[in-house]
Amino acid sequence: MAAKPGAATPTYSPKLVGSSRLPIFKDSDLDWSRPDGRGFHQCRPALLQTGAVSSASGSAYAEFGNTKVIVSVFGPRESKKAMVFSDVGRLNCNVSYTTFASPTIGQGTDHKEYSSMLHKALEGVIMMETFPKTTVDVFALVLESGGSDLSVVISCASLALADAGIMMYDLITAVSVSCIGKSLMIDPVTEEEGCEDGSFMMTCMPSRYEITQLTVTGEWTTPNINEAMQLCLDACSKLGEIMRDCLKQAASASEE
């Protein structure tokens, strides 16, 4: 499971392309320096590996800075007898945190809905018609919570589904942006999320250039939303490239 020595961990930092407008914030407004010294539009290095869990149909491990997530996919396997017949497949998602994932003991109240949000993100991209009467189970375990947990879980889950061979329309990638004061910062860490004025999480299909899930909290003006969307789309397509490389490496490694 160790990364190949000598391979630099790629990052998916976006560039604001074609910004003919002046940037919203000028340098004099920057009074927030990121705890890990990144620029506002710089993402954490993304480490992705497949095949982390040998007993699952497919699995993936993602390490984005301090956020470490492992996702395993089981299926398609037989639905429980009690469930009604359905001619499309069923998807069952569960996101859980280990007890040592965050500095405070216990899960925290935000995380209960992550399972349903993961379900919503994945149900639009998996071709459910290809596995009727059966269920695909996606179990995500957050080993360490370092910020942008749900985005990392979603990206890692789509990688695990690809590793399991479940048919999908496209890989999905998720990126979140935090708004503190007037500055937008991509891929926030826990400290930034704790004092943010707004959060913007986007899940998209990079090849089809379509947004499958978008969740915005806090107060946003339309230019801010425009900028956040551009940042996320660019970062998502770069993350999609990294995920594809990871899958290609895994496939070529297994051929050897």
Partner: protein, 287 residues
């Protein structure tokens, strides 16, 4: 819900494309909204909102509690939604749980804003009585009695009306005590504080059917939707929350267009809702 035949589906989709929906409305027209406040006397505030066939009740109850150790200078708000089986037989037992939690999450997102409290409809600091020791806990409950589409907008309007109707009793901290003891508080029976709802946003759900968006979809129109985006806009014209539902993907330009349409619709909706709420409050005072 009764399924739609192929002919009916075409009729719904074709009508929307031609800006003439099955009930005669245009794409961006709301059904008539009926607001009644003070429907639950035991609650601190309550309201009932009917949008066409959708009927919801929201109630606000305030109780004395302790602020959380992570945010000692703020009160707490909890939103619960219950989809009653009278609305749909499938809601009985655990069937409505998923929809209820999704609605509650979307409403909580719109009302409470970012983690630092920016853009919040309810100012949590105003719920504080004594820092670190005593605060108000607001329990906002929504009950869906009848569902004919557009539950989120109706619940948002009902919560706004209920908060306008909410009267929180004045509290006097009667004695200063040592740091580790709970202070004695005296809850007044006569003096009440009205809640400030000028920053509570309204929620507008835009449903995409084919290539057009409609506002205030009925249940049969919702069955034909490809995706829906619920946008909550406050009085200042800023977006307080956005949730995209539905599996199919949307082009980013479509989402930005939806945001501008939502802002435009919100202006009318906000003023209409305000006038309905004040009319309801006035008639409640008279009776």
């Amino acid at each position: 819900m009764v399924g739609l035949s192929l002919g009916e589906q075409h009729f719904v989709k074709g009508g929307i494309a031609q800006d003439l929906r099955t009930d005669g409305r245009k794409r961006l027209t709301y059904r008539p909204i009926y607001v009644e406040t003070g429907v639950i006397p035991q609650a601190n505030g309550s309201a009932r909102v009917k949008i066409g066939g959708t009927d919801v009740i929201a109630s606000v109850k305030a109780e004395i509690g302790r602020p959380s150790s992570l945010q000692p200078d703020k009160g707490k708000v909890a939103v619960f939604i219950d989809c009653s089986p009278t609305a749909e037989p499938t809601f009985g037992g655990r069937g409505g749980e998923e929809l209820s939690s999704e609605l509650a999450l979307a409403l909580q997102r719109c009302l409470l804003g970012g983690k630092s409290g920016a853009g919040a409809g309810i100012n949590l600091s105003s719920l504080l009585i004594k820092e670190g020791k005593v605060c108000w806990d607001l329990y906002i409950d929504g009950l869906v009695i009848s569902s004919d589409g557009n539950l989120l907008d109706a619940l948002g309007a009902a919560i706004k009306a209920a908060l306008t109707n909410t009267a929180i009793p004045k509290v006097n901290v009667s004695a200063e005590v040592a740091d580790d003891e709970q202070p004695e508080i005296d809850i007044s029976d006569e003096e009440y504080l009205q809640f400030d709802t000028s920053s509570v946003p309204v929620i507008v759900t835009l449903t995409k059917v084919g290539t057009h968006y409609i506002v205030d979809a009925t249940a049969e129109e919702e069955s034909q939707m490809s995706s829906a985006v619920s946008i909550s806009v406050n009085r200042a014209g800023h977006i307080c929350g956005l949730t995209k539902r539905g599996g199919s993907g949307l082009d980013p330009s479509v989402i930005l267009d939806m945001i501008s349409v939502a802002k435009h619709v919100t202006e009318n909706l906000m003023s209409k809702l305000d006038s309905e709420i004040s009319a309801a409050e006035a008639s409640e005072d008279e009776s």
